[in-house]
């Protein structure tokens, strides 16, 4: 074999070997390995910490995990700027920047913020532990108060219409149609009010909560419009009967209009107290 033929054969062998080499083996030699120890603030090795290495330019992230001795290795990093973050259970995640240069290995030790916990701040377990039961109670309360609000707002529409219709139903008016309309609207308003009141009364109470702010006024007003919503239809029924039998409305029934107006006003104010900031 002459020298030229031998050279060609050698070239062919190198080429064949290059193709026969498994791809990962070729990739392994391409980049730099970043390695080091993961420690806490006191210098103690932190096992099994999670390391995340992000290439700043490409935003590609490689993840690795430290071993039981706190040693980590992230292979095959191309030269460039990286953001390295490390996190361990019960610690804050720390991030730091590093520039990888060409070479076989680069060392960088990482520190995790182990040591600070809620107990270090003096919070008792009772303060920091959640309660699914309490959350469920709050959820139920909010749900029922939402329905209270919804029915309360809907009730305001027939209530206003009842007040408007009262001008044609009372006084010197003799029209029974106006009276019937007033009664029908009042009944609808009363029913919706009753549903709304049910959700407010039945909503779970949260222990240890002191009522303060606009909701206090809202609740005080309920002591006016609540009895008013009971009294008004009773007085209204008496006035209706007196008027229907051709009598002039008299006695306690004559207070129907005034009680109704006060009730409607207290109800309107109750809605405004939690809707608009005074």
């Amino acid at each position: 074999m002459n020298a030229k033929a031998a050279k060609s054969l050698l070239g062919a062998w190198i080429l064949a070997l290059a193709f026969l080499l498994p791809a990962p083996l070729r990739a392994q030699v391409a980049g730099t390995a970043l390695t080091g120890m993961v420690r806490d603030a006191s210098g103690k090795a932190v096992p099994h910490a999670k390391i995340s290495v992000k290439n700043v330019a490409t935003e590609q992230t490689v993840e690795a995990q430290a071993d039981s001795a706190g040693l980590y290795i992230v292979p095959n990093l191309m030269p460039g700027d990286y953001e390295v973050s490390v996190a361990a259970e019960g610690s804050s995640a720390n991030a730091t920047k590093v520039t990888i240069t060409a070479g076989a290995k680069q060392t960088m030790n990482l520190v995790v913020g182990v040591g600070l916990s809620l107990s270090d701040l003096g919070f008792s377990p009772g303060q920091t532990q959640g309660s699914a039961e309490e959350q469920a109670r709050l959820d139920k309360r909010s749900h029922m108060l939402k329905l209270h609000q919804r029915f309360g707002l809907i009730a305001a529409v027939p209530l206003i219409a009842t007040v408007v219709a009262s001008f044609g139903a009372g006084g010197k008016s003799t029209s029974s149609a106006n009276r019937d309309l007033h009664v029908a609207l009042g009944s609808v308003a009363g029913d919706l009010y009753g549903i709304s009141a049910y959700y407010a009364i039945r909503a779970p109470k949260i222990q240890g909560t002191e009522t303060r702010g606009p909701i206090k006024l809202h609740k005080i007003l309920a002591w006016i419009h609540g009895p008013g919503m009971i009294m008004t239809p009773i007085l209204g029924a008496m006035a209706f009967n007196q008027k229907s039998s051709g009598e002039k409305v008299h006695g306690i029934a004559s207070a129907h209009g005034a009680v109704g107006i006060v009730t409607a006003a207290a109800y309107g104010l109750a809605i405004l107290s939690v809707s608009v900031k005074f």
């Binding site: 600070l116 809620l118 701040l121 919070f123 309360r141 707002l153 702010g213 909701i215």
Partner: protein
């Protein structure tokens, strides 16, 4: 002989070269969240935050925590509703963690990466600016965390079927004291 003296000097000087650990304690705090609604502008305030910072080798870890139910908006019903929507009974604490170089204490403005745990979710806020000033041994820090409800997967609470805005910026005013 000279070599021995040199080694002795190096050994004696080694502890001095190692950086001294220090700690920070939160003295006073006022955290204020701001909620915007078409009919209301509401603020809830808490003074119940506790915090600590631990520094080692020039790096400091800070943890600040505040009970969710300590926020007071001036209306008990609103506070209970906020507690419900933020799942405050299930996750009673808001915690903020940050990691800063010890040298950050010397500049007038700190840019901190914050990790906030709230309502069972973790949100990260990059480079949040805080103004700081030191007087009489205490460091006063003020700034605003640009939090949003969606960061913590909280459905915006609504009043009269109108939801509040997604943004709930949290104003932070803290006084820290360095401890050895």
């Amino acid at each position: 002989m000279i070599q021995k003296i040199l080694i002795a000097c190096l050994l004696a000087g080694a502890p001095a070269l190692a950086q001294t650990d220090s700690q920070w304690a939160l003295d006073q705090s006022t955290l204020t969240y701001h909620v915007s609604h078409p009919l209301h502008q509401t603020e809830g305030v808490s003074h119940a935050a506790r915090g600590k910072g631990v520094c080692h080798a020039g790096q400091c870890d800070f943890l600040i925590a505040v009970p969710v139910k300590s926020f007071d908006s001036g209306d008990s019903n609103r506070d209970l509703h906020m507690l419900q929507v933020t799942r405050g009974a299930e996750f009673p604490m808001v915690t903020v963690r940050t990691h800063l170089p010890e040298t950050a204490g010397s500049s007038a403005t700190i840019h901190a990466d914050l990790e906030v745990q709230f309502a069972g979710q973790t949100a990260k806020y990059k480079q949040v600016a805080f103004e700081q000033g030191t007087q009489g041994g205490v460091t006063r820090i003020t700034g605003t965390i640009p939090a949003t409800l969606s960061d913590f997967k909280i459905d915006p609470p609504s009043l009269l079927s109108m939801p509040v805005k997604n943004e709930i910026p949290i104003r932070v005013e803290m006084t820290w004291r360095k401890q050895k």
